[in-house]
C-alpha cells in the first residue's frame, strides 16, 4: 500500500499542475475546472452558459479539461490520491451511475441544487425520469445513429431508412463504420436477426444469444471499418471511404449542416443516451459553493435551450424543449419525427456483461 500511495501522490502532483484553486478566505472559490469532451459539444457548453456566467462574475476564471472519456479512471485515481482537482465533470449516464455507486460523485437533491422551470415546475419533475442516478444532473439527450452518403445510394433504390439496411449488403453495397465495442452493435444485430425489441437483453444474456449477434455481425464483417473515436465516422463519410456508419447525431449534424457534405441521417433504432454533470465527492466548501452557484445558472430552462442553438442535442429539461429554435428542432433526436423508433440501452446489463462480452467480441474481431 505504501508504494501505491507514493505513486498516486506523484500522479496527483502532475494532474494538479495548473489547477490548484486558491481557496478564497471565505465564501466561493474564484476558479473552476470543468471537464468535458472537447470539440463541438464543449464549444456549445462554453457558448451557452460558461461565457454568460463568466460575464456575470468577472472575478471567476474557468479551465476546461477534455478528459471526460477517462473520467471514471481519473476520478478514481484522484480519489485514491486524496486530491480531487476537478470541480464539475461531464459524463454519460453509464459512467455517472458507476461513479455514484462507488461514492466518487456527490449525491444531490435536484430541487435544492437546480432551478425550477419558469412556470414553477420543480426541477425534479422537469427533468423527470432522466435523472437516472442520485448523483446525475442530465444536460442533453443525444443518440448514436447512422449517417450515409446520399451520393452513394445505388440508383433506383430508396435511401436507407431501416436499421436492417445496415446489414443488407445486396441492396446497399459498400463499407460500413461501426464502433469497435460490443455495446449497441450486438443489440442492432439481434434486432435485425428477428429478435423483438423487448427481448434483446434476455437473448443477449445467453451464450447462444451472444453467438447469434456475432454471427449476424459476421455477415457484414468484411465490409466494416471499426471506429474508436467519435470523429472517425464523420471523417470517413466526408472522405467517401464508407457508405454508412454509426456515430453521435451531433457529429453528423455538423457534417451535414456546417460542412455541407452529401450525408443523410437514418434515425431508425437510434440509441438514446444522456450526457450531463456530476460533482466529484468531497470538494472543499468554497469550491462546492462555486459549483453549486454555477450549476443553478447553467442548468436552468433558458440555458439548456440556448445550448441547442449550437448543437443538435435535445435539452434534458421538458420546459426547454419549446424554446429550442425552430430550425434546430428537426435535427434533434427527440423530435417526434426522428424518435419514431428509439432504443434505450440497458446500463445495468452492460455493467454486468461488459467484460465477458467484450472479451468475446474482441477475439471474434481478431479471428
Amino acid at each position: 500500500m505504501k508504494f501505491s500511495k507514493t505513486m498516486m501522490a506523484t500522479t496527483a502532483l502532475t494532474v494538479a499542475t495548473g489547477t490548484i484553486a486558491f481557496a478564497a478566505a471565505h465564501g466561493m472559490s474564484d476558479s473552476m475546472t470543468l471537464v468535458s469532451w472537447g470539440g463541438a459539444y464543449q464549444d456549445s457548453q462554453q457558448k451557452a452558459y460558461v461565457e454568460p456566467y463568466l460575464e456575470m462574475h468577472p472575478e471567476v476564471s474557468s479551465t476546461w479539461d477534455e478528459s471526460s472519456a477517462e473520467a471514471v479512471a481519473k476520478l478514481r485515481a484522484m480519489n485514491e490520491a486524496g486530491n480531487v482537482t476537478w470541480d464539475l465533470v461531464d459524463v454519460v449516464a453509464a459512467d455517472a451511475i458507476r461513479l455514484c455507486d462507488e461514492g466518487l460523485a456527490m449525491e444531490y437533491d435536484p430541487d435544492e441544487l437546480l432551478a425550477a422551470a419558469p412556470d414553477g415546475t420543480s426541477a425534479s419533475d422537469d427533468f423527470g425520469d432522466l435523472i437516472v442516478s442520485d448523483c446525475y444532473i442530465p444536460q442533453i439527450v443525444y443518440s448514436t445513429t447512422f449517417g450515409y452518403r446520399t451520393d452513394m445510394v445505388p440508383e433506383g433504390v430508396e435511401a436507407p431508412s431501416q436499421i436492417c439496411d445496415v446489414f443488407d449488403l445486396e441492396k446497399y453495397p459498400g463499407k460500413r463504420a461501426l464502433e469497435k465495442r460490443p455495446i449497441n452493435n450486438m443489440e442492432w444485430a439481434l434486432l435485425c436477426d428477428g429478435v423483438a425489441k423487448a427481448d434483446v437483453y434476455d437473448v443477449l444474456e445467453t451464450d447462444e444469444g451472444q453467438d447469434q449477434a456475432l454471427a449476424k455481425l459476421g455477415t457484414i464483417k468484411d465490409e466494416v471499418i471499426w471506429w474508436s473515436a467519435g470523429a472517425d465516422t464523420p471523417q470517413l463519410l466526408a472522405d467517401g471511404e464508407i457508405f454508412m456508419g454509426s456515430t453521435y447525431n451531433g457529429r453528423l449534424f455538423s457534417v451535414i449542416v456546417d460542412q455541407k457534405q452529401p450525408v443523410g441521417m437514418m434515425w431508425d433504432a437510434q440509441v438514446f443516451d444522456l450526457d450531463g454533470w456530476i460533482i466529484p465527492a468531497g470538494l472543499p466548501e468554497d469550491r462546492l459553493a462555486r459549483v453549486k452557484d454555477f450549476l443553478m445558472f447553467a442548468t436552468d430552462t433558458q440555458r439548456l435551450a440556448d445550448q441547442a442553438k449550437y448543437i443538435s442535442y435535445g435539452p434534458a429539461r421538458a420546459s426547454s424543449a419549446p424554446l429550442v429554435p425552430e430550425d434546430m428542432k428537426m435535427h434533434m433526436p427527440t423530435d417526434p419525427a426522428n424518435a419514431a423508433n428509439t432504443f434505450l440501452y440497458n446500463y445495468e446489463f452492460w455493467a454486468d456483461y461488459r467484460d465477458d462480452i467484450d472479451a468475446k467480441f474482441q477475439s471474434w474481431l481478431a479471428q
Binding site: T6, T10, A69, R76, W226, D352, Y353, K360, S363
Partner: protein, 560 residues
C-alpha cells in the same frame, strides 16, 4: 560501466605476496594519531557521502518517477485485498467452509456477510467489490449493487417489531444513552461546530460483555457517522444492523443484571424477543437475490478471498481459476495470447523493415561529403521532429481507399476503380506507419557507427582483389553490426509499447497488446489485469534484452 573503476595497473600475485610478507605488526599512524587506515577510510566515506548528496536529487527523482510506479504496477497485478478488506468477517467465516462439498455456506457466513455488507454499503465499497468479482463471474456486479439496497429488508423485520414495543428503539438519543459512555455523552452534548472535530465515540463500560454484537454494530455506526458523515450519533438514527444485532444478543444473552440507562426498555424487549418473528440471514439474502443461494457465487468469493491472487496473471494468459485449478478459457474468449504473439511478430517485422530501409540511407549519409550529408540529414530529422499524430494521420490520407496512392494507381490504370487496394485499418497499415515513424531511430545509430568506419578499409579490400560484394560483406558489414544492434533494440522495444498508431491505423488485425492495456486502464477499469499484462510485457522485454546480450553482446551496441 563498472570497468572504469578498475583502470590502472593491477598488482600481480608476486607483488601482493611480497606485501603481505612485509606487513609490519605496528600500525601506521596519521598526523593526528589515528591509524592511517581508519583516517583514510573516514576521508573516503566523507567523499562518498558528498558525491551521494550531489546525485541524491536525481536518484530520488528516478526512484519516485520510475521505480515506484513500476513497483506499484507489479504490486497491483497480484493485489487482491479488496475482498478481505470489504468483507473481513465473511472471508474469515468462509475459511472453514469446504467449497467442494456442494453445500451452501453455514448461517454464520450469511450473518457475517450481513454485517460486513451493511458497513460496506454505507461506505459505498460494496459496488467496487462487486465490479472486482464481476471480472471473475458475470453478474456479481449487479448482485452486490442490489444487495446493498436490499439489506434493509432484513433489518426492517426486527426494527419494526422493536418499534412496536417502544418508539424509542428507532430514535437516536435513547440509543446513544444506552450505548455511550456518560462522559462522552456530556462532551458530545456540549459540542458545537466551532470546536472542530466531534469527540470520538466511547462505549459505556461493560456493554461489550452485556450486548457483544450490538456493541460492535453500534460502534461501527457511531464511528462511521462521526468520521465520514461528520454528524453526531446523538442526532442520527442508528442503522438497521443495530436492531438486528440487539435481537440476536437478547436471544442469546441474559440482561437481567443490567441497571444502567434505559434498563426498563431493554428488559421489556428482552422479555418480548422470544415471540418475535425472525428470519434467518440465509433466507433474507436469498430473498434479496436468489443468486445468494447459488453455490458458484460463494465459490468465487472464497476463491478470491486471499490477499494476493494469481487470477489476473491467469487471465492475462487466457486462463482462469476453477475449483479444479487453473484452466484454459473458452476458445472464443482467448485474445491475449494472440495479441502478445502478434505484438512480438509485428515489432519484429517493423524492426526488419527499418533495417532494410535505414541501412542504405545511413550508408549514403555516412559516405557523402558532409555538406550534402547534412542536407540529407535534415530530411531524416524533419519527420523525426514532426508530431506522431500528424504523421499517422497523413498515412491515413495516403493509404485509404479514396486516398492518394489508390487514386494514383487508378489513374495509372493499374487498379480498377472497383477494386481499390485495402492498405489501412489492418496489419499492413500499422507496419507502414510505424516503420516510417521509427525509421530515424534506426538511421541515427547506424549513421553514427558507419561514420567511424574508415572508407580506406573498403578500398584496401578492393585493392587486394575483393569484389564489391565481398568487400562490403566481409569488411564493411561486420563493423556496422553494433549500429544495427543499437537501432534494432531501440526500434523493437519502442514498437512493442506503441499504442496510438496501431489504434488509429490498425483496424482489428493491426492492434497491439498495449491497446488492450490502455482499454483496461481507462475504459473497463480492470487495473489489475492491465497491470498483469504490463508486467508480462515488461518481463518479455527484459528477457529479450537478456537474450540479445547473450547472443550479440550488449557491449557491441553503440548509440553514438
Amino acid at each position: 560501466m563498472s570497468e572504469t573503476t578498475q583502470d590502472g595497473p593491477v598488482p600481480n600475485s608476486a607483488s601482493s605476496a611480497n606485501k603481505s610478507a612485509d606487513a609490519r605488526p605496528e600500525l601506521m599512524l596519521a598526523a593526528d594519531g589515528t591509524p592511517l587506515k581508519k583516517s583514510l577510510s573516514r576521508a573516503l566515506r566523507r567523499q562518498k557521502l558528498r558525491a551521494l548528496g550531489l546525485v541524491a536529487p536525481l536518484l530520488l527523482f528516478v526512484v519516485i518517477t520510475f521505480v515506484a510506479p513500476i513497483a506499484d504496477m507489479l504490486f497491483r497485478s497480484v493485489e487482491n485485498q479488496i475482498v478481505s478488506d470489504t468483507l473481513p468477517r465473511t472471508t474469515e467465516a468462509l475459511a472453514d467452509w469446504d467449497a467442494t462439498t456442494g453445500n451452501l455456506p453455514p448461517e454464520a457466513v450469511y450473518e457475517a456477510l450481513f454485517y460486513d455488507m451493511s458497513l460496506a454499503a454505507e461506505a459505498k465499497l460494496h459496488t467496487r467489490l462487486g465490479s472486482r468479482l464481476n471480472y471473475e463471474q458475470t453478474g456479481l456486479s449487479s448482485l452486490f449493487r442490489q444487495s446493498g439496497r436490499g439489506l434493509d429488508d432484513i433489518s426492517d423485520v426486527y426494527l419494526d417489531q422493536f418499534e412496536d414495543l417502544n418508539k424509542d428503539w428507532d430514535k437516536a438519543q435513547p440509543w446513544a444513552e444506552l450505548m455511550g459512555d456518560p462522559e462522552w455523552l456530556t462532551e458530545q452534548a456540549a459540542w458545537t461546530k466551532a470546536d472542530g472535530k466531534l469527540p470520538r465515540f466511547v462505549l459505556s463500560d461493560g456493554m461489550d460483555d452485556l450486548l457483544p454484537r450490538t456493541s460492535v454494530a453500534y460502534q461501527n455506526f457511531a464511528r462511521f457517522t462521526q468520521v465520514e458523515d461528520e454528524k453526531s450519533p446523538i442526532k442520527t438514527k442508528p442503522w438497521g444492523t443495530v436492531q438486528t444485532a440487539l435481537y440476536q444478543d437478547l436471544m442469546a444473552q441474559d440482561v437481567s443484571g443490567y441497571s444502567g440507562p434505559h434498563a426498563d426498555m431493554l428488559k421489556t424487549a428482552d422479555a418480548a424477543v422470544a415471540d418475535f418473528d425472525s428470519v434467518t440471514f440465509q433466507e433474507g439474502f436469498s430473498e434479496i437475490d436468489e443468486d445468494w443461494a447459488d453455490h458458484e457465487v460463494w465459490q468465487t468469493i472464497k476463491t478470491y478471498s486471499p490477499n494476493y491472487t494469481n487470477g489476473y496473471f491467469l487471465n492475462a494468459v487466457d486462463m482462469q481459476k476453477t475449483p479444479e485449478g487453473p484452466a484454459m478459457r473458452d476458445d472464443n474468449e482467448r485474445i491475449y495470447g494472440l495479441l502478445f504473439k502478434r505484438t512480438l511478430f509485428m515489432s519484429m517485422v517493423i524492426t526488419l523493415s527499418c533495417i532494410a530501409l535505414g541501412y542504405p540511407v545511413a550508408w549514403i549519409l555516412a559516405n557523402l561529403p558532409s555538406r550534402t550529408a547534412n542536407l540529407l540529414m535534415i530530411l531524416v530529422l524533419l519527420p523525426f521532429w514532426t508530431s506522431l499524430l500528424v504523421r499517422t494521420s497523413a498515412w491515413k490520407v495516403m493509404l485509404q481507399q479514396q486516398g492518394v496512392i489508390n487514386d494514383t494507381l487508378v489513374w495509372l490504370g493499374l487498379v480498377s476503380d472497383g477494386d481499390r487496394l485495402v492498405m489501412i485499418n489492418n496489419q499492413f497499415g500499422t507496419i507502414v506507419a510505424m516503420t516510417h515513424i521509427l525509421l530515424p531511430f534506426m538511421i541515427l545509430p547506424l549513421y553514427s557507427v558507419m561514420q567511424t568506419i574508415p572508407p580506406t578499409y573498403l578500398r584496401a579490400a578492393k585493392s587486394m582483389g575483393a569484389t564489391n560484394w565481398t568487400a562490403f560483406w566481409r569488411v564493411y558489414f561486420p563493423q556496422s553490426v553494433p549500429g544495427i544492434g543499437a537501432g534494432s533494440i531501440l526500434v523493437f522495444i519502442l514498437s512493442i509499447g506503441y499504442y496510438i498508431t496501431p489504434e488509429i491505423v490498425g483496424g482489428t488485425t493491426g492492434t497491439f497488446i498495449s491497446n488492450r492495456i490502455a482499454y483496461h486502464i481507462s475504459s473497463s477499469l480492470n487495473w489489475g489485469l492491465a497491470a498483469a499484462l504490463g508486467t508480462i510485457l515488461l518481463a518479455a522485454v527484459l528477457l529479450l534484452y537478456w537474450a540479445y546480450d547473450k547472443i550479440v553482446g550488449i557491449d557491441n551496441v553503440k548509440l553514438g
